[in-house]
Symmetry: C2
Subunit: 254 residues, 2 copies
DNA sequence: TTGAATTTGTTCGTATGTATT
DNA sequence: TAATACATACGAACAAATTCA
């Protein structure tokens, strides 16, 4: 396709050997991690060492590292070094939050869809959670619910406690992908909600108490009751979302 | 360029006016998209124009664009220009496929967890699918099942037909996030499976017929039957995964 | 506390491949 | 085929953050 392009060899111009595309630099760094059996947190060679190892310039290595760090496959710490990343769902969060921030209508739609996904995942883990929590008592979780109730009654938000609750609830879950996915969608949820300026209705008490009902159901080993508690947990928010969507469709906002 | 410091920011440190980190260049490009009301597919300024607009160097813009393109927030077409990306779930796919490729054990575990997520999502959309398909006839979907059956009987794979089937099935789904998520996990699934070299068992016929049963259940408006068909659909693969996991734990492979 | 060494972050200049016209 | 516009790549030099003596 191209006139002078000797197969895979270097230096059409002498000094600079333009051997491979940047895309393949990304793949080569992935291969390096695989072939050296590195695990999350393990240190990577310095950028200069990678340049030698892969035979490309530092700029190319840097762009590849940017790509990999935005996917959480590597983690770069300024002035310190590069490490294998946590392989989390953070890129998913970035993308969805950005989508939600594009316009007011998109914010409501994204949030509605995200909530539906959260419900689906919460429902799906019910059996496994019940098998873990049946017959146990969980003072730490109930204490979190108490903190939520006090904050709610004081007219404050309780995002921190809510996150801690859901994180603790799933901490025993064996499925890493599901656990990270639930966490990611929780994060999208809490990032997008403030964009809407939803008035915290009196209904929010329902959400707080639903957390307690979730614990009750799990300890009692009652899957259907857990399902109902999950639905009640999201009901006030869903109500606010539908109300907001109706208002924007009326042209009340841009 | 150094002396002129246009907008409201102050010089952070003494000597040269290095105003913002690369991270904020990413955010500024996002802001540009938001503030100009751009939608997926719309063209972005050239890299040089963005350099002027944001007051940073080409390299910084390039690295930021790399980050954004790996998140599918922008799409770069070589020799043509940059455009707003499709906001898909492709970063999720990259990360999970990489995790699955790290070692043989991780491959099996990742696949098992991915299948569990697929099941959860398929279950969750049952109601909405039933309300869409109840009372309809779907020759196109049944034709796909027929193609799968013929290929399966000929000892061939039918990845293409399977993807087309699931894509078509969800095409009417109103929830974009769920649809993309299902597609993403299908992609991870089909990318990871070949790494295992699972022998295509005779059980694979069960999967083919389960596709047909899914259509039957949807057209009949029978949610529980759909749930059962979904489970049968995944059963042969789950069996193979558990078998593979048991073998690797025996130390048969590394 | 200071300061040197190490490593990543940013910028400029230049050269070259590639798609469109 | 030639010209243009643009993305891609390289490398040197300097800035900033972190660590450790």
């Amino acid at each position: 396709m191209n006139p002078a392009r000797p197969p895979g060899t270097t230096a059409p111009t002498g000094s600079t050997g333009r051997r491979k595309a940047r895309w393949s630099t990304v793949e080569e760094i992935k291969d390096y991690i695989r072939e050296h059996g590195l695990r999350p947190g393990d240190p990577l060679p310095t950028e200069n060492e990678l340049c030698e190892e892969l035979g490309v310039s530092r700029s190319s290595v840097r762009e590849a590292m940017r790509t990999l760090s935005s996917l959480d496959i590597v983690e770069v710490r300024h002035g310190h070094g590069s490490f294998v990343g946590g392989l989390s769902m953070s890129p998913l969060v970035s993308g969805l939050v950005f989508r939600g921030s594009l316009n007011r209508d998109g914010t409501f739609r994204t949030l509605r869809e995200v909530v539906q996904v959260r419900i689906a995942l919460d429902m799906a883990v019910a059996e496994e959670l019940v098998s873990t929590y049946r017959g146990t008592t969980n003072e730490d979780l109930r204490e979190l619910v108490g903190r939520m109730r006090r904050r709610s009654e004081a007219g404050e938000t309780f995002v921190e406690e809510d996150g801690e609750f859901h994180r603790a609830l799933l901490s025993q879950l064996d499925n890493t992908v599901v656990r990270q996915l639930v966490g990611a969608f929780w994060e999208v949820h809490t990032s997008v909600v403030p964009m809407l300026g939803i008035a915290t209705s009196a209904e929010i008490a329902t959400t707080v108490e639903a957390h307690g009902e979730m614990i009750d159901a799990l300890e009692a080993g009652d899957v259907p009751a857990y399902h109902e508690a999950v639905l009640r947990h999201y009901a006030p928010l869903q109500h606010a979302i539908e109300q907001g969507l109706a208002e924007t469709e009326d042209g009340t906002h841009d």
